[in-house]
Amino acid sequence: MPSDRPDDLFSTMRQSIIDGASDTASSLARQAVASGVAPLDAINNGYVPGMHDVGEQFAKGQMFLPDMMASAEAMRAAMAVLDPELTKVGAERPTAGVVVLGTTKGDIHEIGKILVGTLLSAHGFRVHDLGVDVAGDTFAAKARELGADIVGVSALLTTTMRNQKGVIESLEKAGLRSQVRVMVGGAPVTRRWAEEIGADGYAKDAMSAVDLARELMNQKVLRQNAPVAEQA
């Protein structure tokens, strides 16, 4: 058992994420709530640093996708306890961004997309997963409804990859393109393809999708803060 010192508690929380131990993460969250630790402190000082460690170790090839999935699941378990507490105190976890995800029309593959969604959620993004075989207009409608910052479009097949372009066209048609960043991914997708269809970014795997999403959010913030003349 951890001691009562918050630093020890935070360090155990961090470790529970690294270990991918959902039960521990969840019980530590309950313990924090019971002992009066502010939910945001638990998140920002305990669980989030754990997720950062996982990301770093994954990038170095020291952790693997099943480890990462377990860590994301542990993060979800902790948040399931802490989110209602945040609501009670009228606080809100700062969202890294709102992302609408889906697999393109005609394609029913989603393993890569699920990985991306899981990792984005674990890294503080609010993710809405539209599932598979999603039409461009559906992406646009959901992006409008949620005020999405980013739309992520996945495709596994060389044939359905072409429909990623259709999603961008739907966003343009809906007048949303200037507000929404589009990132694309999937086995046959390349950076060159992303550029060709006018996407804002391409990620080769789930972890780089998180980095890309952060970068796209930074670009968006910079753009919003830029003087109007520069935007023109």
Binding site: F64, L65, I108, I111, L115, T158, A187
Partner: protein
Amino acid sequence: MRPKFELLDKALIERILDEAFQLLEDPGVRVAPYVVELLSSAGVAVADGVAHIPEALARRLLDLAPRGFCLYDRSGKPAVRYGGDDVHFDPGSSCLNILDPATQQARPAMAADLVRLVQVTEMLPEFAAQSTAIVCNDVPQEIGDWYRLLLVLWYSEKPVVTGAFSASSLHTLLDVLAIESGGSDELRRHPRAIFDVCPSPPLNWSEFASQNLVDLARGGIPAEIVSMPLAGATAPVTLAGSVVQHAAECISGITIHQLAQPGAPIVWGGAPAIFDMRTGKTPMGAIETAMLDVACAQVGKYVGLPTHAYMVAGDGRVIDAQVEMESGMSAVLGALAGINMISGAGMLDFLACHSIEKLVIDAEAIASAKRLIAGIEPRSDSLALAMFAETGLHGDFLKLKETRALFRKEQHFPSAVIDRGLASSDGSTPGILERAGQRVEELISAYVRQPLPDDREKKMIAFAQREGKKAGLEGLPEILKPEYAPEAGLM
């Protein structure tokens, strides 16, 4: 003796099949509405889109599937035999990108690239069949399926491994094949093409895959199940577990197929792969992927069916030592496993890119693999004694008539793609890429198109012009105008 490579003993194969049959009953297989009645009327319980296939029925239908069949060349001669331990190779299929011959960088593939690839494949005896290798980016997507098949049939006489990307395009592809064969009856008698049909892992026959299975069976055109378990992602992480899933997907597909038309030709095939736990990629060149291919084929052979696998592909992004190490190893293992059709040569970058230069290098690996499975034979009454009796301890074997009579049988002579120390004409020592590039150009220069019988040629052009026009196709890419312009009546 024919050398053979096997990974599973009989007891393990029986366990794999036993678990596969159990999976077909529970949890069952997701199937599309198109086949629900077909399955129900045979006594399969289908609830909420999931079919629970009884083992007895599946075993009976497995027994109905033919043990072997042939694909025919343009002249109607049998050219590829599926069944037994026959081994054939064809290039990988449906690739969007190609390594540009000049820059060796990946770029979108065009119809002209497909034609070059087909011409090179036509010239290489290592490839018994063509494939619809490339998705032509300069052809409208809605007609892409049939147009690339038409190009292959236009430039090749070999059998073709192909596939449809939708239920409706299958019928257009069959129309093109029927024109080329001289009618649908002739196509049925002497099928020139086989169609890949892919279940979605795990255990899901989508609407268009279900429909393809049924329509191909009823049309008498061979189907090749390409089951693609990704070990650790869309299938159990263990190789044995993924082989079970592959078997269950094949058996359920064969059940649907044989119910539609008992005795229709079908292949136990696949493109299984491991799922890389660091990158989420599906490395086709991984040794475990090759192990899955070999094991899946072994199970197919055990139930007596023709087999297929996806091998001879590498994962690097350029032609390098990694890509060719992976491709060469997998060519050897596939040949030793006696897999009837091995697709994948020419491909790299996790099947995202094709390369004609790689195709000619892979052909050398394939030739070596074929030499390997030809094995070591006693070629004369004595193995060595008679030759020693002639030459004694002088060691002048080079002079012996047996040497001259037998060396061509014993040794395979690779093309100039393989550096065996032959000096080039100008004394330079070109690298592998340059040698492969030269070989490609030589093969294309030596290629001569064999025209179809005149009436079929006209019909194909008329078909292509009519259907192409509907999709806004300007002219017929890569079918040279002089080949059809004189027939002004067809324009």
